[in-house]
Structure formats: C-alpha cells, structure tokens
C-alpha cells in the first residue's frame, strides 16, 4: 500500500469514528407520546466497585418501575440513561458531558465512589446539575454545592461510632487495619482520632495497598504486639486486603476479637471463617420488604448502593411531583428543605448540607451469617 493510500485509509477510519460520534450527538430521538422525563446515572458498572454500582443501578431501575407503574410524574414517564464510569475520573467526566450535553439530563444519580464524584463538583455547580450519590461517603462532595446530595452517610460517622462501641466494650489498646483507599483512609483516620480522644491507643496501624495479596507481614506485625493489644479493628469494609490480613491473623493463632464496619455477605464468605464472631456496625439497613423484593428480582444478595439509589430516585420523583417542576434550582431547594425521610434504606436525617445520615445496625457474624445484636 502506498503512503498516500495508507493516509487516506486512516483518515477514513477517523472520519467514520467522528461520524459515529456526530450521529450519536446530533440524532433526534423519536418524539414520544408520553414525553418522558429523563434522568441519568453515573455508576461503576464494570471493574473494581462494580458490585456497588450494579446494586445502585438495580435500585434505580426498581424505583423507576414503581414510579412509572403508579402513573409516572403527572402522567409523564420517568426514564434513566445509565453510564458506566469504570471507576475512572476521565470517564466520569465524559459520562457527565454526554448526559448533560446530549441526553439533555439535568438530574443525575451517582457517582459510586468519591474519586469519580469529586471531579464533577465544579461542573455540577456551573451547570446547575442536581447530583445525588447513593454510596459516595466524603463530605467534600455534598458540601461543595446546594445541588449535590448524598443518600449514603459520610464514611467517618460509622468509624466514630465504632470507636465508641469498642471503647465501651472495654478495649483500650488495639491494632487498626485500614487500607490506602480514599474512603477507608477517611474511616481509619476517624476511628483513630475518636479512639485516641476517648483515651484508647492504636498499638499497630496497618494501611496496606488495596491490591496487596500478601498479608503475612501485616499479620506478623499484629502477632508481635499480640500481648499488648486486646482487640483488632478493621476499617477496610469491602476491600479484600482486610480479609486477607484477618485470615492470616487467624491462621497464625491470634484469637483476639475483631470489630469492623460495613461488612456484607460477600466479604464474610471471602473471609472463610476468619470473621466468625466478629461484631460490626453497618449502614446497610434496607427494609426487609425491599431486601426481599430486590433479592427475588435480581437473584443477588443486596449490596451497598441498592436501597440508597432507590431512595435517591424516589426523592427526585417526589420532588418533581410536589414542585411540578423539573428545574434543578426548584428541585434542589425542595430537597434541601427535607429534614427527615423514611426510605427503604432507613430513616434518613438531613445534616442541612446535602448529606443524609441514618441509624446504623450492630451485627455479629454467627455461622457465617450476620445477625442483629442491637
């Protein structure tokens, strides 16, 4: 192939791709008789974090099914355009621009994690886009603008509660297992400062890389200090490196009690018995009815994000119904006035800054099943 024909071939390829994007960008969606109201979602649907993102997607779909079966928003159907950010800030921005610029969406449910949510803050403020996250836990997000909300409580709340819980149990010197992950770091810091404030001390602090596979060194550090500590605290929740350390700790014969937060059935199963007897606090407090419906519909155990994404979608729909508007300025004003909301994820209480919190549950792992203890 001559050089010029090669250039022409590649230029044709570029033109085809650009034409594909242009077609998508400029195509007119067929006018619907129902004139649906479109909202968007930006979630992690593939890769690490996809279990939370998928749970949130399922929760939104369930909420929309319910809203539309009850006549939608004043007769108009509520539809959602789901976008996958693959846990990459660049993709989250692409998804945001596509949803707001092409799909005409001004209300979004997302993102799943903080590092994809924080890059959207300025854009949301500029474009007056309403965003409600179902699982993002840093306050820097919702406190940045009146257009940003969380239906999942901030990560540090539960860790502070755990510090109180462990202290009340009589433990004073502990080993703390965290990880180099944004929300885990937030949780670890919150536990540490609260526990030390109460008078306790952290004798061993482990914060491995979340992708670390070898937990031997970390487990041996706890073994070395075993005589000086009376409990092991894990703030790693779904991060598997915490599970690996706990497994290794048990294998080398350390029998100290373990306390944790936000553990789900998958993590308990992955621990293969290492979490037996462990007590933990969790904000995963769906109503039994919702949990049953979810598990029957999807054949999956309920995960973080499902119930709070459902509540986010319902909150948006109710705001639209009550204000008879889809204008985000009106909707944010309405949402900011909500003080308390009884949803399927629990009794949400507003902090007045776009964040919601709710009562947590204390659970204990018995025969690999988490049971309520308070």
């Amino acid at each position: 192939m001559s050089k010029s024909s090669k250039t022409i071939t590649w230029l044709v390829v570029i033109v085809i791709i650009i034409a594909g994007i242009w077609y998508g960008v400029t195509r007119k969606t067929p006018p619907s008789e129902e004139n649906p109201i479109k909202i968007g979602s930006i979630l992690i649907l593939t890769g690490e974090g996809a279990s939370w993102g998928t749970a949130a997607k399922n929760g939104i779909d369930m909420a929309l099914e319910k809203i539309n079966s009850q006549g939608g928003i004043d007769g108009r159907k509520l539809v959602v355009v789901h976008e996958d950010d693959q846990s990459d800030p660049k993709n989250a921005l692409s998804a945001f621009q596509k949803l707001t610029g092409i799909d005409g969406v001004s209300t979004i449910i997302g993102t799943t994690w903080s590092h994809t949510g924080l890059p959207l803050v300025d854009l949301a403020k500029e474009n007056k886009t309403l965003i409600i996250s179902p699982s993002l836990g840093v306050k820097d997000f919702n406190e940045a603008s009146e257009y940003l909300f969380n239906t999942w409580p901030h990560d540090f709340y539960l860790s502070q509660e755990l510090a109180d819980y462990v202290y009340k149990k009589g433990h004073r010197k502990v080993a703390l297992i965290g990880a180099q992950q944004v929300w885990v770091k937030d949780q670890t810091n919150a536990f540490k400062s609260r526990f030390e404030e109460l008078g306790g001390s952290i004798e061993v602090l482990l914060e491995p890389n979340p992708t670390d596979k070898n937990a031997n060194t970390d487990a041996l550090k706890i073994k070395e200090k075993e005589a000086d500590i009376d409990a092991i605290i894990s703030t790693t929740d779904g991060i598997l490196v915490g599970v690996q350390i706990a497994k290794r700790v048990r294998e080398i014969g350390i029998e100290l009690p373990i306390y944790s937060i936000s553990i789900d059935a998958d993590v308990i199963a992955a621990a293969e018995g290492a979490y037996e007897g462990m007590e933990f606090l969790t904000f995963l407090t769906p109503t039994q009815k919702f949990q049953k419906e979810y598990e029957e519909k999807y054949g999956l155990a309920i995960d973080i994000g499902a119930a709070s994404a459902y509540d986010a979608a319902i909150l948006i729909a109710e705001a639209m119904k009550e204000t008879k508007s889809t204008d985000t300025a009106v909707l944010q004003e309405h949402l900011n006035k909500i003080e308390q909301y009884n949803g399927v994820s629990g009794e949400l209480v507003s902090d007045g800054k776009g964040g919601f919190t709710k009562p947590f549950l204390s659970k204990k792992v018995v025969n690999s099943i988490p049971i309520d203890i308070r």
Binding site: K6, T7, W10, L11, V13, I14, I17, I18, G20, I21, Y23, G24, V25, T26, R27, L45, T46, G47, T54, K57, H82, E83, D84, Q86, S87, D88, P89, K90, L93, S94, Q97, K98, T100, G101, I102, S114, H115, L118, P119, V121, D122, E126, V138, D140, Q180, Q181, V182, V184, K185, D186, N209
Partner: protein, 290 residues
C-alpha cells in the same frame, strides 16, 4: 449542549497527544522502552496541583511541573543508562511503581488516597480558563508546541543521532557519540512534556489521586505508540485520535451499559492484536517493536 461533550473529548485527545508524542521521542526515536512515562505524568500532575492549591500562578505551575518531571527523568536516566530492552522496561516500570507508592503513602504532601480536590482552573494575566472552549484552545496550543518541538528534535541532526543510538548504540559510541548524554536528553525531554500533560490533566479534572496514575493507565499510552508506529509522529497523532475516540460511539449504540465497559477493553485489545498481526510496524512505523 452537544458541543460541550465534543469539546471535552477533544481536550482528552489533546492531553493524550502530548503524552503519546513525548513518549514516541524516547520509545520510537531513541529506542528506550520507557515504562516510566506514567510516573512523569503523575509528577507533573502533582507538582502543578500542589503549587496551584498553594496559590502559585498557572504559567509557573505548568512550567515547574515540566521541570520537576524533567529532573526526575534525568535522575532515572543515570541508573538505567546501561540497560536495554526488557531490563530497561523493568527498571522504568519499577520507577512508575515507586512514584505511585510515594503518591499513595506520602499523605502529608499528597493526601495519599484522599487525593487533591479543588484544583483551580488556569488563569493567565487575569483571564480564567473556566470554560471548556478556552481550556481546549490552551490545550491545543500546548499540543502544537509539543508537536513542533519534538518534530524539530527528530528531524534535526540530533534526531539522526537519536535514531543511530536506537539502531546500533555500539556503533554510535564507536563514532564518538556520548550515548549516555544522548539518551538522557531524550528521556529528559520526553519527561518534560509528560509533566506538562500531567499538569493539564490536573487543571482540567480539578481532582487528582494516585488511582489515575496506575500501570493500567500506561497501557493505552503504550498501545497508541505501538499502533501509530514507532518513530512516526503522524502515526502517533492518528492512533491517538482513533484510540481515544473509538470507544465513544459505543455510548450511542444502545448496548446495556454493563456491556459497553468490557466492549471498550475488547476493542483496544482487538485493534492492538490486529495491528501487531497485520502491520507489525503499526500505522506508519519505521522500525519494528523488538
């Protein structure tokens, strides 16, 4: 507005162009299998972000981002001077892991996994690049500077020396060329532009954390350089545009979103596989990947 989405994509293409063209200088033209490029990108991003958050002016932040990346490029070139091929690749990969680990663990400086939020948009002489259109123009100016500087280097007599080092380092040394100096200059220049790309990324995304600079983010950059063809700037530009934009039409096809994510990865792998099978030199490659 649809144009906001297109402008956003063009900004991403621009940032990647700076990265890939600069990587082409060390990999394609000098034959250094440099897997440390993502680290220079990270250094640039963190330098610019930290200085911008401390209130330093944009022009100084971006310049220092390039210079600090450049300094690290020089430091890396010293121990890797005698390494070639796989060994050099492993050493530079180690450097990428090292910088990632520093970004993750030096919490006092980088806030570790919590990242650096709230990076302000660039401002030059009172003009704030707050809109994406103005940011695109800024990016394009830096892309053009990068392209012409690297083109100037590669088409100059010094560029021929770089190619000589790539093709036969021993022969170049026999002819009296200081190959250590030549390779260092190539790596340092490459790192400088990667630093600029990193700073633009930080200013554009307004939030950075170590997860944006993992080895997974190096793969598409290396893939672009290989697909475009080693030692070809034209090929690199075409490959960057194609590979960055290629997954985007998938958003409009109507596949379930759970399919689109893996489909993007399959698409990259497929394109790379087909290129290596049928065009081992890439689009316009002058040399084959060893």
């Amino acid at each position: 507005m649809p144009s906001a989405y297109i402008i956003h994509l063009l900004i991403l293409v621009g940032i990647y162009l700076i990265l890939t063209i600069s990587l082409q200088l060390s990999v394609g033209f000098t034959g250094l299998l440099n897997l440390g490029h993502i680290a220079f990108y990270a250094i640039g991003a963190y330098t610019a972000a930290l200085l911008a958050l401390a209130g330093w002016p944009f022009w100084l932040c971006i310049l220092l981002a390039g210079l600090v990346a450049m300094l690290f490029g020089f430091i890396l070139s010293i121990p890797t001077n005698k390494l070639k091929g796989d060994y050099l690749a492993l050493a530079t990969l180690g450097f990428s892991f090292l910088i990632y680990a520093v970004a993750l663990n030096w919490s006092g400086l980088t806030r570790g996994p919590l990242g650096l939020p709230g990076i302000p948009r660039p401002e030059i002489f009172g003009f704030v690049f707050s809109g994406n259109t103005s940011f695109l123009i800024l990016t394009l100016i830096i892309v053009l500077i990068t392209y012409f500087v690297i083109r100037k280097i590669t088409t100059s007599p010094f560029g021929k020396v770089l190619e000589a080092v790539r093709d036969n380092e021993l022969a170049a040394r026999v002819l009296g060329k200081n190959t250590f100096k030549i390779k260092s200059i190539s790596l340092v220049a490459s790192a400088f532009f990667a630093g600029l790309a990193g700073s633009l990324y930080a200013y554009y995304i307004t939030f950075i954390d170590p997860s944006s600079f993992t080895i997974m983010h190096l793969i598409p950059i290396i893939a672009i350089v290989i697909i475009g063809g080693l030692a070809s700037l034209k090929g690199t530009v075409i490959a960057t545009i194609i590979l960055i934009l290629l997954p985007e039409p998938l958003r409009f096809i109507g596949f379930p979103s759970s399919v689109i994510g893996p489909a993007r990865q399959i698409l990259y792998a497929l394109v790379l596989l087909l290129i290596l099978l049928y065009r081992p030199k890439g689009f316009y490659g002058k040399v084959e990947l060893e």
